[in-house]
Symmetry: C2
Subunit: 335 residues, 2 copies
């Protein structure tokens, strides 16, 4: 199978299993995406454990949360990781490790980026990932420029790609290609993409960004039990930047589990044992209190290419296993 | 993406999402593979519900269980579906539906096939699937011939394909190509295969069987959350016969869930609603009593291409979440 970006020993084709791609970069978004389940109200023990795990596991980036606007989101209603104040990050990381980069996400229309993102020399943050929908591309480009000019590495997360038509997507990617963003992520917000779509999209992104030096990334959701396999599909096709979360934590059906991805990559810089330790000590107990991970309602919204919000609501109701009622409701809404 | 067997509108490439492959045949092995969890001790209500669901959902085959030898397996120790006596099947199905074919599995070295598989005209069974390891191919061929001569459709399930080297596999497939088997399954017994391996194996099977009219099938396990995606990979590459189980029931990490597969196929002959009904009424309650489905220990045995028996034992112990201890034990055994 051919890829459009083949800069290193590629894990594909005959003999491909023994080597690895040293250019792959993992970003842990356990706390950021997981925070969407509980309004970012994690205790410091969990946050520290995830941070230390990522350092020990050789993961390239850790994303603590959002730079949410305090004018929009009342600080009393959310945990610290909705805002990622410098002091909160410093409290967790102590002396900054040189081994891992720190990332935050800045949502278009939900971030006071001019004020809340400090000049890089006053911050422990290394990377700002701007998240937007297709209609917010001009705003997102201004946010990328702002963060870049302040000294940060920047990335774009273009959300809900499964709802964007190819013409609009190409236009957006042409704009992004001229921006200072170091990478652009394919974001399967609804967990609706199948492998062939992931492959086609990865090729579209690679083609649009060819010659710019920008990386293509992939952010999966597990609505149809395809988060891990779709991440591999993007990787094999040429995506270099992969999002994962420990124990698959994340809103709704969750994300691509770090422990599965590291098992596949067998790049000696990544280590699975610290991740297993964190799963065992932190997330196995947490799974008894918080509901995340695959279940049938998420599969149904994924099949219909819908936002999982109705499934999340249904799973939190007093009838979390009323699959038929939920299916009938979705069918009625579609008609 | 090219396939070697492109006899019908193929769900791949540009525009491929709107059509479907009418030649795809689904086999439900909920009761057969699920029986490995509880020694086949299901009550009639569950068995009837699965049967009626499969008929209503348009599934092509239902596999009730094994034709186990009563000289090897004491009937008092197992449920009826270890043996699939004609009377037991008739009790469940009543008047035989013309819409669905009935299958049983005959394990090499564990079946008194000469005696226990009756001539077809005395049986409600349509299809005998012979399961064997690579070293049992000669015996399996005799079993296939016996069942074929008695009037049955026959299939071969060559287990643990991830442990077979390519030379031996090709030799086995050349033998099978000359047999009366209507199809041969790629069986990922350890849930260890990644998509590229599934694609390569499917091509090897298609090539070996080219011109014989035999189908290639795929039987997945979910140890690495890849059962559904690997089934799709085999399908896209040209496999026509797919195994699935309702709610992913099956030993250890379970199988490819029927409700996900039907969602992808969107072939009008398959219907998801009856499957959801069965999930809701039978399997969601059962999941509170029986342990099956993905968990980290299965991922670890899958990553190491090992039989999941150690993971099954560990999940049934008093430390089902001791991932690190289990990992250390596996690493020690590997060294």
């Amino acid at each position: 199978m051919s890829t459009e970006k083949q800069t290193a020993p590629l894990k594909t084709g005959k003999g491909g299993w023994v080597c690895y791609r040293p250019d792959i970069k993992l970003l842990d978004c356990t706390i950021r995406d997981g925070g969407l389940i509980n309004d970012h109200k994690f205790d410091d023990k969990l946050i520290k454990s995830v941070y230390e795990t990522c350092v020990a596991a050789g993961i390239d980036y850790i994303e603590f949360g959002y730079k949410g606007s305090k004018k929009i989101f009342a600080p009393a209603k959310f945990g610290a990781w909705k805002f990622c104040d410098e002091d909160d990050i410093r409290r967790i990381i102590g002396k900054k490790s040189s081994k891992i980069k720190i990332s935050v996400m800045a949502d278009a229309d939900r971030t006071d980026y001019h004020e809340d993102i400090l000049p890089k020399d006053k911050s422990v943050i290394d990377c700002v990932r701007v998240a937007c929908y297709i209609n917010q591309i001009p705003l997102a480009m201004d946010m990328i420029k702002d963060a870049h000019d302040k000294g940060y590495e920047t990335m774009l997360q273009l959300m809900a790609v499964s709802t964007i038509n190819e013409h609009d997507l190409t236009e957006a990617l042409d704009i992004v290609a001229k921006s200072p963003a170091a990478g652009v992520y394919i974001v399967d917000s609804f967990g609706s993409l199948y492998s062939e779509q992931v492959r086609d999209l990865t090729k579209i992104y690679l083609h649009a960004l060819a010659g710019t030096g920008k990386d293509v990334g992939f952010h999966a959701h597990n609505n149809q039990q395809l988060a891990f396999s779709n991440t591999l599909e993007a990787l094999i096709t040429g995506a270099n930047r992969l999002d994962a979360t420990i124990h698959g934590l994340g809103r709704g059906a969750g994300n691509c589990p770090t422990e599965l991805l590291i098992g596949f990559l067998h790049n000696p810089k990544f280590r699975i044992r610290p991740v297993l330790e964190c799963c065992q000590n932190i997330f196995a107990p947490l799974a008894k209190q918080l509901d995340w991970g695959y279940s049938i309602p998420y599969a149904l919204t994924g099949q219909l290419n819908q936002h999982p919000r109705t499934a999340i609501k249904m799973r939190a109701s007093d009838k979390p296993d009323d699959y038929v009622g939920f299916y009938d409701q979705l069918m009625e809404e579609e008609s």
